[in-house]
């Protein structure tokens, strides 16, 4: 095919219009030739002989008449062994390698191989004459702690291919030919360990999608117990600035019980990524004994990097997630923040002079957000194994107001909502997830009846505290006051968690179950307390014990000691279980 080309006819911000010859397809990649620089861009609209391209670089210096070269390929990522531990920009450019090449600054027009030229220990899984389909495994290589499947490229025709040749076990460079396959018509296809896939098309090489049911443990109590996330599910974290979205994502990326974590830092502060970048290679994952970096991929397109690449970055991240899912692994994708991605869409929409929707976001905002989150899921693969992609996205609503379009469009499609509140973060109650507003449709790790009961205490306690603001402590009955204190207790010792404490920052499921059981028995108990002063001091004493308990490791001998002490403390005043609580405890 002859190289298609065109010439620049207009420039407006990061959008360039090009007059082209031949055929050009939507989302095709074009390069603007500027001296010896080639500026990558993507076709986002075609009208007659004019294509509008969003340029992934700064557009200064481009002039009308400059030559444009079309690649014939949609915007793609390279998939293969070596993706793990990498730090990419939104277009899968490896940033550390770029730094070696260009120094402190991101020089435009420099694109490096995303997958490092390395050799891998290849073990074949098929033999000559075998019949394979796209996404079938032809061999494996060990990538860190995982067995990386070398698969038949997903883009090939979905029919039976016959293995014509396959390399024996041995060490091969990542781009070497490792197999040749041919289709029924005899067309041959050479395979290496890497192949491209267009980022805006979901990878659908699976048998069926399943209902997400298995909890994804984050070791954050308020999430696992009250607002759980499931493997293959989706959740969102909206919150005003300074409410702790990023700290929460950071904690999740460290503690989540999944195989691989992909962090998409999309249009946020560079400094935050740097912390992850410098910390993860030092932190040891207790599950594998290797550093956290070995299970992490960072896609980093921070706020000062070109905005069009920011739009691409979340797709780059989810495509890599889907690729590893094809190996039967559980992937967690953390996107921080999806609002910046939506804003990138808004900027382009504005330049295209599209009719704006609410707050000038494009009319297709909702469908684009929906189809992005829909790329999550738990699936059965052709070989019977299961893999999942879970997506957790933060949302940065303008003015902290959840009524804005991005939050609303996101809420429609996610399975759990962890809303952060300014009120809680101002009061230093972390994680600042609002327990009254937030919700989850996934099953908890704890008996749902108990969780619901605890939640009702929280609601009632909140009501009492509101009333108390009007009538004062003196106008509140002892019974109500105790409910209020119980709500506070639940909040302080269970919902709040100290991410800077060596023990408290991660609460494993088993521990959550033990602690919650003890706590539930207190919440459900009628206590022999006569006046408010005693009520306060009793609950304060219990609270202090819980706080100490929370910072004692599970294998510490004091763990049982604190548990017993708390139970004794409560036992002294215990009368009986309150009706509903008694029922729940009997059923058990």
């Amino acid at each position: 095919m002859a190289k298609k080309g065109g010439r620049v006819t207009g420039i407006n911000g990061n959008m360039v219009t090009v007059e082209f010859d031949g055929d050009v397809s939507q989302n095709e990649v074009g390069f603007i030739l500027l001296g010896d620089q080639r500026l990558k861009s993507e076709v986002i609209r075609i009208s007659g002989k004019i294509a509008s391209l969003q340029v992934f670089e700064m557009t200064g210096g481009i002039s009308v008449g400059d030559e444009v070269e079309f690649s014939g390929l949609m915007l793609s990522v390279e998939l293969g062994p070596g993706l793990l531990t990498q730090i990419y920009d939104g277009l899968q450019n490896p940033l550390p390698e770029l730094a070696i090449e260009c120094g402190f600054f991101l020089q435009r027009g420099v694109y490096l191989n995303p997958i490092p030229d390395k050799s891998w220990e290849f073990t074949p899984r098929v033999k000559v004459g075998d019949s394979v389909f796209p996404a079938d495994t032809v061999g494996t290589v060990p990538e860190g702690i995982f067995t990386h499947r070398i698969m038949v490229p997903f883009y090939l025709a979905p029919s039976a291919w016959t293995v014509e040749s396959i390399k024996p076990a041995g060490t091969y460079a990542v781009r070497d030919e490792i197999a040749v396959i041919k289709d029924s018509k005899g067309n041959k296809q050479s395979l290496s360990m890497v192949f491209p896939w267009p980022i805006k098309r979901p990878i659908t090489q699976y048998l069926e999608r399943l209902q997400p049911k298995e909890p994804l443990v984050t070791q954050i109590r308020i999430i696992d117990t009250f607002l759980p996330v499931a493997k293959g599910g989706t959740y969102c974290i909206p919150g005003p600035f300074g409410a702790g979205k990023t700290v929460l994502q950071h904690m999740t990326s460290r503690n989540a019980d999944v195989d691989i974590v992909i962090i998409a830092a999309c249009g946020e502060r560079a400094g935050e990524v740097v912390e992850t970048l410098k910390e993860f290679p030092e932190l040891i994952d207790p599950k594998t004994g290797k550093t956290l970096m070995e299970r992490t991929i960072i896609i980093c397109n921070t706020s000062s990097m070109p905005v069009a690449a920011r739009e691409a970055s979340v797709y780059t991240a989810v495509t890599i997630a889907e690729y590893y899912r094809q190996m039967g692994l559980d992937i967690l994708l953390l996107a921080d923040s999806t609002s910046r991605w939506a804003q990138a869409m808004r900027e382009m929409s504005g330049r295209l002079e599209e009719i704006p929707g609410e707050e000038a976001f494009p009319a297709y905002l909702e469908s684009v957000i929906a189809s992005f989150y829909e790329r999550a899921g738990v699936v059965t693969l052709r070989d019977g194994s299961k893999g999942s992609v879970t997506i957790g996205g933060t949302v940065s609503p303008a003015g902290g107001n959840f009524e804005e379009p991005v939050t609303q469009a996101t809420l429609k499609v996610v399975g759990a909502f962890h809303g952060l509140s300014r009120e809680r973060s101002d009061a230093r109650k972390y994680p600042a997830i609002d327990p009254l507003e937030s919700w989850s449709k996934y099953p908890s790790v704890i008996d749902m009846a108990k969780v619901d009961y605890a939640r009702s205490i929280l609601f009632d306690g909140h009501e009492v505290s509101q009333m108390m603001k009007v009538v004062g402590e003196e106008g509140t009955s002892v019974e109500d006051y105790i409910i209020y204190l119980k709500g506070e207790l639940l909040d302080q010792v269970y919902l709040q968690q100290n991410s800077f404490d060596d023990v408290d920052f991660a609460a494993p499921i088993e521990r959550q179950q033990v602690v919650f059981d003890v706590l539930f028995k207190i919440l459900g108990a009628k206590l022999q307390i006569e006046d408010k002063k005693t009520a306060r001091s009793t609950i304060n004493e219990i609270r202090q014990k819980f706080v100490d308990w929370n910072s004692v490791a599970r294998n510490d001998e004091r763990f049982e000691m604190y548990k017993n002490e708390i139970e004794e403390l409560v036992g002294g005043q215990f009368v009986e279980y309150e009706g509903k609580a008694a029922k729940i405890l009997q059923v058990k």
């Binding site: 006819t9 207009g10 420039i11 407006n12 911000g13 219009t17 700064m58 557009t59 200064g60 210096g61 481009i62 002039s63 009308v64 008449g65 730090i87 940033l95 550390p96 770029l98 730094a99 260009c102 120094g103 402190f104 600054f105 991101l106 020089q107 435009r108 600035f241 300074g242 249009g267 502060r269 560079a270 400094g271 990524v273 740097v274 912390e275 970048l277 410098k278 921070t302 706020s303 000062s304 905005v307 910046r340 804003q343 990138a344 808004r346 900027e347 929409s349 504005g350 330049r351 704006p356 707050e359 000038a360 940065s396 303008a398 003015g399 902290g400 101002d426 009061a427 004062g472 003196e474």
Partner: protein, 433 residues
Amino acid sequence: MQKVYTKIDSIAGNVITVRASGIRNGDLAMVTSAHGESLANVIKLDREEVSLQVFSGARGISTGDKVRFLGVPMRISYSDDLLGRIFTGSGKPRDNGPELTENLIEIGGPAVNPAKRIIPRNMIRTGIPMIDVFNTLVESQKLPIFSVSGEPYNEVLARIAMQAEVDLIILGGMGLKFDDYLYFKNTLEKSGAMSRTIFFVHTASDPTVECLLVPDISLAVAERFALDGKKVLVLLSDMTNFADALKEIAITMEQVPSNRGYPGDLYSSLAARYEKAVDFEGAGSLTILAVTTMPGDDVTHPVPDNTGYITEGQFYLRHSRIEPFGSLSRLKQQVNSDTRDDHRALMDGMIKLYAAYTEALEKKSMGFQMSEWDDKLIKYGEMFENRLMDLSVNIPLEEALDLGWEILAACFEPKETGMRSELVLKHWPKEAS
């Protein structure tokens, strides 16, 4: 090759269009009119049609005026000769000194590779206890001061400029009142800090387009000095005026507005500037302190709101005090563990007690019964406000910490402070206990 065009097709706001070919995006042009010469730069190209924003404004420009393309983008001279000088937003001298044309550098350069950034590690001392103790300023931080008109934000900025331990100060003024400009100039001259200061000033009466250039030009120069090993502090006042200038140009260019008339790329535009703050490994650093006035004291207004999402914390300046609540330095954890062993504990402890004080105050105003503890809190709160929060207090960090203990000792018993006993034992003033 220079090209001269003598027909201006359209003039709208500060944007003119001419028909020309071979022009590059971002290039400069010189517009000569009856009122003198002005630079302009290319902001949009559509076939032959070239849109330019005229730095000194399009007022009085005629369709027959001369436009000469210079074939280069906006640049600024970079050398030590800049020190002590005052320039306009387009880099022209404002102080009767000579024009600088040597060693030109481009403005609005590329972003720093995140992989080359390092975790910030040095504190910047300001002598203001509310900053040093409670929300420490850190080298390479970007931090806005959220305030409202009438508050002494420029005074705070000037004080930090004079006292901060940095090699170089660059002041970018946007829409400054002339009085404020003179205030900055006089204060810095008097304190002798002028020789390590560079001004890029756009006053309220200057053309809007120059306002847009101030952050870029200030930060381009700052970045160069930082690369040459200098610790640079950039002060920007007031970023809301910058955002308003962006709005003005966007509306002139008939862009679809997103929120209260501001363009959809407001976040990206602000981030591109703030993210210039950096600590270069093996070289200097660039710290940004900016004033953002909140129209109507509304933090949800698009400018402070977008700013808050970009910057590493914020200072609220209200009633001539830096508010203890809401104010936040996201980077303080990186440095306040190595200052003094009691720094973190005192910082948290005093704020928690101050929060309890505000509750007690509320209780008092509601007419509820006051306990002995409430009275103690009220005494504490008042001392805190007068002796630490007052902006006129000017003491080094260590003295401020000692003063904190003194205030605590004057109001409470050691066990009432809620702090670790060993710390209290070590720092509690002897004569008080």
